[in-house]
């Protein structure tokens, strides 16, 4: 039987090309802003532009050495979004300076950008295999809870605009919840990969829903309480919603049970309804969501719709093609550089610009999900899927709030909005996704399935990757499992979206077409055979 080794192109050259485009976009925007508003290039333009270029190109070079198979689209998109965000923050700085203000946010944001890219590089460099993280499942839970509770501590916790989600450390304001989402993603992944079958299967079936057993719910209830606690004690609807989305999505990915989605949504709806009836500010948000243009709600203070309506006016002013960088009035909206940067961009770049930005996010998220599909271990699937989804969810909650799909909550737009914690956290996610995607796309050094005679594989095959991680407790990772049937190679493109050319047909002894289409099942097979089979097709 011929080895099935489809050619995998690492894509580093493509990445370089995309990165140059992304830099041109970000740096070009920065230059245009300066020229439009002040008639000259921004101060220290060469330094800033060169710095961004050097950092992102440095990251690219690092990937060539340390993760040559990492997804080639993730880094350029993150760079482009970050550059666009920086340009808008700088543009708003200029209009503030013009009007006698002194606050400069772009410099800080640029420093955080540098830190973020470096942090992503460090993750890629030092974290040789994402499965190492699984060892820290419960550590991650504790870290996550600690981060979430930090703002409630005396002395370091700070209340800004009614939400107690900030901590002051060494003169810097941080939003620990941004980092908590990574910790929780790791915790959920580790926890669920171990317990997913108990959660999915043990329990009664009520009205067609498979209910889990109460005793399996323990850690999840803790996290649920924590996120409701955020809502109640830190008055932050957005972060609470964010954790819930992450939590429900990962449960669903792990257990494939709609019941979890229903239970999760019911729990959140219950908590939110309770909060709405208890806290005035939640009810006010709902009024603003439903009827922002009503004069009564517009003029209400506090809790009026002035900011939201101002944002809508900005979007309307932008129209289809926008006013152009530096030509609009985004400064009229409070927090135009952070919570409402979407409307700032919409005003100056227009609908075309926003659709492009949304497509970039979509591409970034789908690349993350694709990584989750392609990676071979359950833990990696959950981490990548969870992190990708949480980014999509965050974008949805922010922009959906601004465009009135859902009530407005205070979250930041990943990579674009001003805010160091958010930026750093999202670059850390990029680092993790790059690391996992390298594993997912790397051609296996193992014998390809079907190459080795059944039965002889496990002992015979060297497993350098797993061995490298030195984790004995990962039976379900099972990248080495040798199934009975020939399958496409590990680096196989999974037909998630038509981003890549279709995989070359595996050299067949079986019906090739069937095999390709059924990658899913094939992929799940080893998993099932390893743990608890029988729940699949008979």
């Amino acid at each position: 039987m011929a080895p099935v080794e489809p050619e995998v192109r690492p894509g580093r050259t493509a990445e370089l090309g995309l990165l140059v485009l992304a830099l041109a976009l970000g740096i070009g925007a920065y230059a245009i802003v300066g020229i439009t508003v002040t008639d000259e290039l921004p101060e220290n333009f060469a330094l800033h532009a060169g710095g961004l270029a050097a950092l992102s190109l440095g990251a690219h070079v690092l990937l060539r050495f340390k993760a040559p198979y990492a997804d080639p689209v993730i880094l350029p998109i993150a760079t482009a979004l970050n550059g666009i965000g920086l340009s808008m923050i700088y543009r708003l700085d200029l209009s503030r300076l013009e009007r006698g203000g002194t606050e400069v946010l772009a410099t800080r944001q640029a420093q955080w950008t540098a830190l973020g890219i470096v942090a992503a590089c460090v993750v890629v460099w030092l974290l040789r295999d994402h499965r190492i993280l699984r060892r820290y499942t419960y550590t991650a839970m504790i870290v996550g809870l600690g981060l979430v509770l930090m703002p409630l501590l005396p002395f370091i916790g700070v209340t800004i605009n009614g939400a107690r989600i900030w901590v002051n450390v060494a003169g810097m304001s941080l939003q620990p919840a941004e980092f908590a989402k990574i910790a929780f993603a790791v915790f959920f992944a580790g926890y669920l990969v171990t317990n997913r079958d108990t959660l999915a299967l043990a329990g009664k079936k009520v009205l067609g829903l498979q209910l889990p057993r109460v005793r399996d719910l323990g850690p999840l209830i803790i996290v649920w309480i924590a996120s409701l606690g955020i809502l109640v004690f830190e008055r932050d609807l957005g972060t609470s919603l964010l954790f819930f989305g992450l939590f429900v999505a990962m449960l669903y990915i792990a257990t494939e049970r709609i019941s979890w989605v229903v239970i999760g949504l019911a729990m959140f709806a219950g908590g939110a309804a309770l909060a709405a009836s208890t806290f005035g500010h939640v009810q006010a948000r709902i009024d603003v969501w439903l009827a922002p243009l009503e004069p009564e709600i517009y003029g209400r203070d506090p809790g009026g719709s002035g900011q939201l309506v101002g944002g809508l006016f900005g979007l309307a002013n932008g129209g289809l093609v926008g006013t152009g960088w530096g030509e609009g009035y985004p400064r009229l909206v409070p927090y135009a550089f952070s919570d409402f940067i979407y409307t700032s961009l919409g005003e100056e770049l227009g609908l075309t610009g926003l659709l492009a930005i949304l497509l970039m996010y979509l591409l970034l998220v789908e690349r993350g999900l694709r990584t989750a599909l392609a990676v071979r271990d359950g833990f990696g699937k959950l981490v990548a899927g969870g992190l990708a989804f949480v980014m999509a969810w965050q974008v949805f909650v922010v922009i959906g709030g601004i465009t009135r799909i859902i009530p407005l909550t205070g979250l930041t737009m990943p990579f674009v909005a001003q805010g160091g914690s958010s930026l750093l956290a999202n670059w850390l996610i990029v680092g993790l996704l790059l690391r996992i995607s390298d594993n997912a796309r790397r051609p296996s050094s193992l014998p390809v399935r079907g190459q080795v005679a059944p039965g002889g594989a496990r002992a015979a095959a060297p497993t350098p990757v797993v061995a490298g991680t030195a984790t004995g407790a990962v039976p379900d990772d099972a990248p080495t499992t040798v199934g009975g049937s020939p399958t496409p190679g590990y680096g196989e493109s999974l037909p998630l979206r038509a981003a890549d050319p279709p995989p070359p047909p595996p050299s067949p002894s079986h019906d090739a077409a069937t095999e390709v289409v059924r990658v899913d099942d094939v992929d799940r097979d080893p998993h099932g055979s390893d743990e608890n089979d029988g729940r699949r097709e008979p």
Partner: protein
């Protein structure tokens, strides 16, 4: 886990499609509504962000935008605000716009639909969009003469070139300085507006074309005379009854002549003489004889009861409505001498004179002559437009001769200009028992080759108060304006 991952990917796709739809809805479907929301200050910022074209009178900008170092970018300045305030109007952040600034806004800011090709070009070349300049028909000499002659009296002056309808002067006093409203200091602008609203004499009211309409008084006798001659039964020489008192039909009221005088010892006189000395009883009786309908038809042929855009909106002047109490015979008697329910704008009165001066053809009055692009290319040029035929040429010439008589040796001698034959008609309009009458004059010159038709009103007799007559107070102002045009 790949099946749920794929489903999650689909859900993500759905979420992003929802965001794209909601964003498109706001930026495309809802945009117009949001852009026009009065709470949206961006609209005015956008106006200010562009270089706005100047308003030009005889080659000089009376309103222009100069770059300033503030967020708006350009400050609107009015070089002689008091003189031209009611023509240019104002352009203010907090108070909006008025007059030419408002009606020609699309040209001044370069956003008119007709200019789309230019805008498209500017978008391609990346040029800053620029406003277009608007040149007015106003004659600065006539405008200044009118403004100075009115002085601190309340009133209005309108001067028209009869052959074209060009408005040569449009003054309303008291005036105001639009600079005070155009300031970027929003507090000061708001305060200035409040002050003007509360100010004595209501300076923001444009008396020449809107504001309160006035009773035309004896100037309306031109219309009654026109109706009489157009009817074919009368000529200027026809003798009509001119009693000392006239008993209003179906009423116990009695009408006297001005000062209680007798119009003629015989109790009758020619139509021309009745107009020359402005005999109330003669015209009241004539009006009743002609009847309400004939008078109304004639009034409408001069433009009554029809709004106008010059391009500023003009309030329609009013003749008593058919079939109402207003058109009963005693009210018709009053209407025939310009009292009772007749209401006019000074522009309407000027248009009556203008039509007679132009052989009976009334031209549409207008103020905007030329619109030019920033490169000085003409993009729009006004062409004179016939509005209607008010009277036949023969009637027009008969009326002209009668009006010449008024100025030569009648009530309007104060309007005489040496070496020039002037036609005119005075008016002294009672409007309230406790206030002095309004003084009117309307006319044109030179009578045989009319260059200018004019209407003047001085409210409550102006400085002369109760002693005022149209001949004494308004005629000299008209003379000054006509001289300014003829000497210009």
């Amino acid at each position: 886990m790949n099946v749920p991952l794929r489903r999650v990917a689909s859900i993500v796709l759905v979420m992003f499609v929802a965001l794209m739809v909601s964003t498109s809805y706001i930026q495309f479907v809802q945009a117009d509504q949001l852009n026009n929301d009065p709470r949206n200050v961006r609209t005015i910022y956008r106006e200010y962000g562009n270089f706005r074209g100047p308003i030009v009178v005889a080659g000089d900008a009376i309103a222009s935008s100069t770059p300033v170092d503030d967020p708006y970018g350009y400050q609107r300045e009015y070089s002689d605000g008091m003189l031209y305030g009611h023509v240019s109007g104002f352009f203010s952040i907090v108070n909006g716009m008025s007059e030419i600034e408002q009606t020609e806004n699309d040209f001044l800011n370069g956003q008119a639909d007709a200019l789309w090709l230019d805008r498209f070009g500017a978008m391609i070349t990346g040029k800053q969009p620029q406003g277009y300049s608007v040149e007015l028909t106003v004659d600065p000499d006539a405008q200044r003469a009118a403004y100075e002659a009115l002085g601190d009296q309340r009133g209005a002056v309108v001067a028209i070139e009869p052959a074209t309808g060009k408005i040569l002067a449009l003054v309303s006093t008291p005036s105001y300085d639009p600079n005070s409203l155009a300031t970027h200091d929003t507090g000061a602008a708001r305060e200035a507006y409040q002050e003007l609203l509360n100010a004595d004499g209501n300076p923001l009211s444009n008396r020449a074309i809107r504001g309160n309409t006035y009773p035309p008084g004896s100037t309306f006798k031109i219309v009654t005379a026109a109706a009489a001659i157009e009817s074919g039964d009368l000529t200027p020489e026809s003798v009509i009854p001119a009693p000392q008192q006239y008993q209003l039909p179906q009423s116990s009221s009695v009408m006297n002549n001005f000062g209680g005088i007798r119009c003629s010892p015989e109790g009758e006189q020619s139509l021309a003489d009745a107009l020359r000395i402005s005999c109330n009883t003669a015209f009241a009786e004539l009006g009743v004889e002609l009847g309400d309908e004939v008078l109304r038809d004639q009034a409408e042929e001069f433009g009554f009861d029809e709004g106008l855009q010059i391009p500023m909106p003009v309030t329609a002047s009013h003749f008593p409505t058919e079939g109402t109490e207003e058109s009963s015979p005693p009210r018709t008697a009053l209407a025939a001498i310009g009292q009772g329910d007749v209401r006019v704008t000074p522009l309407q009165v000027a248009m009556i004179s203008s039509a007679i001066a132009n052989g009976g053809v009334q031209m549409a009055p207008y103020t905007v002559q030329t619109v030019r692009s920033p490169d000085l290319d003409v993009v729009q040029e006004a062409s004179p437009r016939r509005l209607r035929t008010s009277v036949s040429p023969s009637t027009a010439s008969a009326l002209r001769d009668m009006m010449v008589g008024v100025v030569d040796n009648g009530t309007g001698t104060a309007a005489q200009i040496s070496g020039v034959k002037v036609a005119g008609k005075t008016g002294t309009a009672e409007h309230r028992s406790d206030a002095a009458p309004h003084a009117w004059f309307t006319g044109f010159a030179p009578a045989d080759d009319p260059q200018v038709a004019v209407a003047v009103i001085v409210e409550n007799g102006g400085d002369a108060g109760n002693e005022a007559t149209g001949g004494a107070v308004a005629a000299p102002i008209a003379k000054a304006v006509m001289e300014a045009v003829l000497n210009g």
